[in-house]
């Protein structure tokens, strides 16, 4: 069953009078439980594509359909609901709130889901996720007290908090050492296999890409299977 379909999606930016198709007429289908990697040069449109799939950047034309819903035809609240409950997004850039501890940053996504406070069960789960990414001793640390790589892992843990169906990971291991990177990859694969979570991962590391079931390459806004 096609879980996610991207139909003729184009995203055009205008920069100083120049027209840039960051994503150019991409059509793609992704099945439930697939582990897809995307490689490509900087500026080739990977982040833009991921953002469009993640419901945070409206395409200039084309449709993104997730489990039968045309994302950009949804109203604002339902699109937020999609981002909150279906997607776990690991952004390319740092994305933690500085006033919150590691655990609270992870619990934040729960607030947008439940409308209430985070329960004890949620707290336990957040701690569990932090342990899974190797930060069991940093639960109450603030982002400023963490290294770049540790912050990155908090963001990774956060992506799993609401039991997403689809993980969008934008260079998730970019600032991790080799050993930690390998650990994270094992963690991703176990989540992919164990929970049947679909993964779309942008990476510059071709070794990592080789470990995935399906490999894509982007260049100049276009995409091709490898």
């Amino acid at each position: 069953m096609t879980h996610l379909t991207i139909e003729n999606v184009t995203k055009t930016y205008f920069l100083e009078g120049n027209k840039i198709d960051a994503v150019s007429n991409i059509t793609l289908g992704i099945n439930k439980g697939e582990f897809v990697s995307i490689v490509g040069h900087s500026g080739s449109g990977k982040t833009t594509l991921l953002s469009i799939i993640g419901g945070i950047a409206r395409p200039t034309s084309g449709r993104v359909v997730f489990e039968g819903d045309d994302l950009y035809a949804l109203d604002s609240d339902r699109l937020s609901g999609y981002r909150c409950e279906k997607i776990g997004f690991m952004f390319q850039f740092s994305s933690l709130l500085p006033v919150l501890t590691a655990k609270e940053n992870i619990l934040l996504s729960v607030l947008f889901k439940s409308n209430g406070g985070a329960s004890d069960v949620h707290e336990e789960k957040a701690v569990e996720l932090l342990k899974m990414v190797g930060l069991g001793d940093k639960i109450n640390a603030y982002p400023s007290q963490l290294s770049g790589g540790q912050q990155r892992r908090v963001a990774i843990a956060r992506a799993f908090m609401n039991d997403p169906e689809l993980i969008l990971a934008d260079e998730p291991t970019g600032d991790l050492d080799e050993e930690t990177e390998a650990e994270m990859m094992r963690f991703f694969k176990s989540m992919n296999a164990g929970k049947n979570i679909t993964f779309i991962m942008v990476t510059h590391n071709s070794d990592l890409a080789m470990q995935t079931g399906r490999r894509l390459r982007m260049s100049n806004g276009a995409i091709a299977e490898l």
């Binding site: 953002s51 993640g54 945070i56 950047a57 604002s76 609240d77 937020s80 609901g81 981002r83 909150c84 409950e85 997607i87 997004f89 952004f91 850039f93 740092s94 994305s95 933690l96 709130l97 500085p98 006033v99 919150l100 501890t101 655990k103 609270e104 619990l107 934040l108 996504s109 607030l111 947008f112 889901k113 209430g116 406070g117 985070a118 329960s119 707290e123 109450n140 956060r158 609401n162």
Partner: protein
């Protein structure tokens, strides 16, 4: 971390990150609210004191020598010590006017300071026990039978009462010995600080030359009118037919004070309005800055699933925390100021009625709601703006 993690915890953490800014906003709001609470307390207190006096005065019309109206009001409303006199014969003339059912009169004297003991200057009211309907209602069961010559009763806040701590104490007034035989119920009017005796005592006092009044003089006449008859019309008729007097209908008592109060009220209103506008502007300016600083964070929250309503709520919690804490501080300060500073206003110093608990609660609630709403109004447009933040663009602006 203690307690559940909620949007409110995030809001309070956000406020703590810029403590000085939060404090400035809270101080601004508390200044505004304390001004509001002080103004309301002041105006309400004077206003209800006047209303109470006119309600509790058992007469529909009071009649005083022409030109003494202000002095009479000073006595009744502000516990001031004053005297004025007119001929007793005027009472018969008044009593004959159509529409009037009962009349009684009182004579005002002032104790002479330093004559004896440490008796401070006090109003002494001599009244006619046969016709009286002003004092009796406040004497319920307190004094058995008639007041005899040489006996006196005191108002509930009378200095005699307070100083001696006992009722049956002999006091020397105007060179005569008086026995204090009772205390009047609290009336909430100028009567509370006075001393009352039967008019039979007047002769002795005058004979001993201790007062500047002459025999056969009285100070004030109280009249009741027939049910259904307009006291204003009767008062006008009295002034027409008896030129030596001023007649004041009950509802007009304190009219001058009420007019003054209206002006004070206007000044307070303008001050509170200006303070409100300044506070709104301050909240707006600070929240505009806050919102710009936090665009990226809000973009992140939106990207991980926050709805517009979550963003709205988060920022509303922040302003409401500031507004409500600031208001509470303001209520405490405003109430304290109205307690202490009010004593410096002569209009307040002499007013006997204090605010009831209910009035204080009402004023505090007004202050609380007012302060909080002002805060919300100020922050509304920045919040509306940030609520619409789109997720991605801001995230890329690292």
């Amino acid at each position: 971390m203690n307690g559940k993690f909620t949007l409110i915890s995030l809001a309070s953490k956000n406020l703590k990150r810029k403590p000085l800014r939060t404090l400035i906003l809270m101080i601004a709001i508390s200044l505004l609210v304390s001004t509001l609470v002080f103004a309301l307390s002041f105006v309400r207190r004077v206003d209800s004191s006047i209303k109470l006096t006119s309600e509790r005065l058992g007469a529909d019309i009071l009649i005083v020598p022409a030109g003494s109206r202000g002095a009479a009001e000073d006595i009744l409303l502000e516990n001031k010590v004053k005297t004025f006199y007119m001929d007793k014969g005027i009472m018969e003339k008044v009593g004959q006017i159509e529409g009037i059912t009962d009349v009684t009169y009182q004579t005002y004297l002032i104790t002479i300071q330093g004559l004896c003991c440490s008796v401070p200057e006090t109003m002494v009211v001599a009244f006619n026990q046969d016709t009286d309907f002003i004092i009796k209602p406040w004497l319920k069961g307190k004094v058995s039978g008639r007041l005899l010559k040489g006996e006196a009763i005191v108002g509930s806040e009378s200095a005699f009462n307070i100083e001696t701590g006992a009722i049956e104490v002999d006091s020397v007034l105007f060179g005569n010995v008086f026995k204090m035989v009772g205390v009047l119920d609290k009336t909430g009017t100028g009567l509370d600080t006075a001393l009352f005796m039967d008019e039979a005592n007047l002769d002795d006092i005058i004979k001993k030359g201790k007062s500047d009044m002459k025999p056969g003089q009285i100070s004030i006449i109280f009249a009741r009118v027939k049910a259904g008859i307009d006291p204003y019309k009767v008062a006008a008729k009295i002034e027409d037919s008896v030129i030596e007097v001023d007649a004041v209908a009950r509802k007009d008592i304190g009219k001058n004070l009420i007019n003054t109060l209206r002006d004070i009220n206007r000044i307070f209103s303008i001050s509170v309005l200006i303070a409100s506008l300044l506070s709104i502007f301050l909240v707006w300016a600070i929240f505009s800055a806050v919102v710009n600083e936090r665009l990226k964070e809000v973009g992140i929250m939106r990207a991980i699933g926050a709805k517009e309503s979550h963003v709205l709520r988060l920022f509303l919690f922040e302003v409401i925390i500031i507004g409500s804490l600031g208001s509470i501080v303001g209520i405490v300060c405003g109430t304290a100021v109205s307690f202490f500073l009010a004593k410096g206003f002569s209009i307040m110093k002499n007013i006997s009625t204090d605010l009831s608990v209910l009035q204080r609660v009402y004023i505090s609630l007004t202050g609380f709601v007012g302060g909080t709403i002002i805060c919300v109004i100020g922050a509304l447009s920045p919040i509306q703006r940030i609520k619409k933040t789109e997720p991605l663009n801001v995230i890329k602006e690292v």
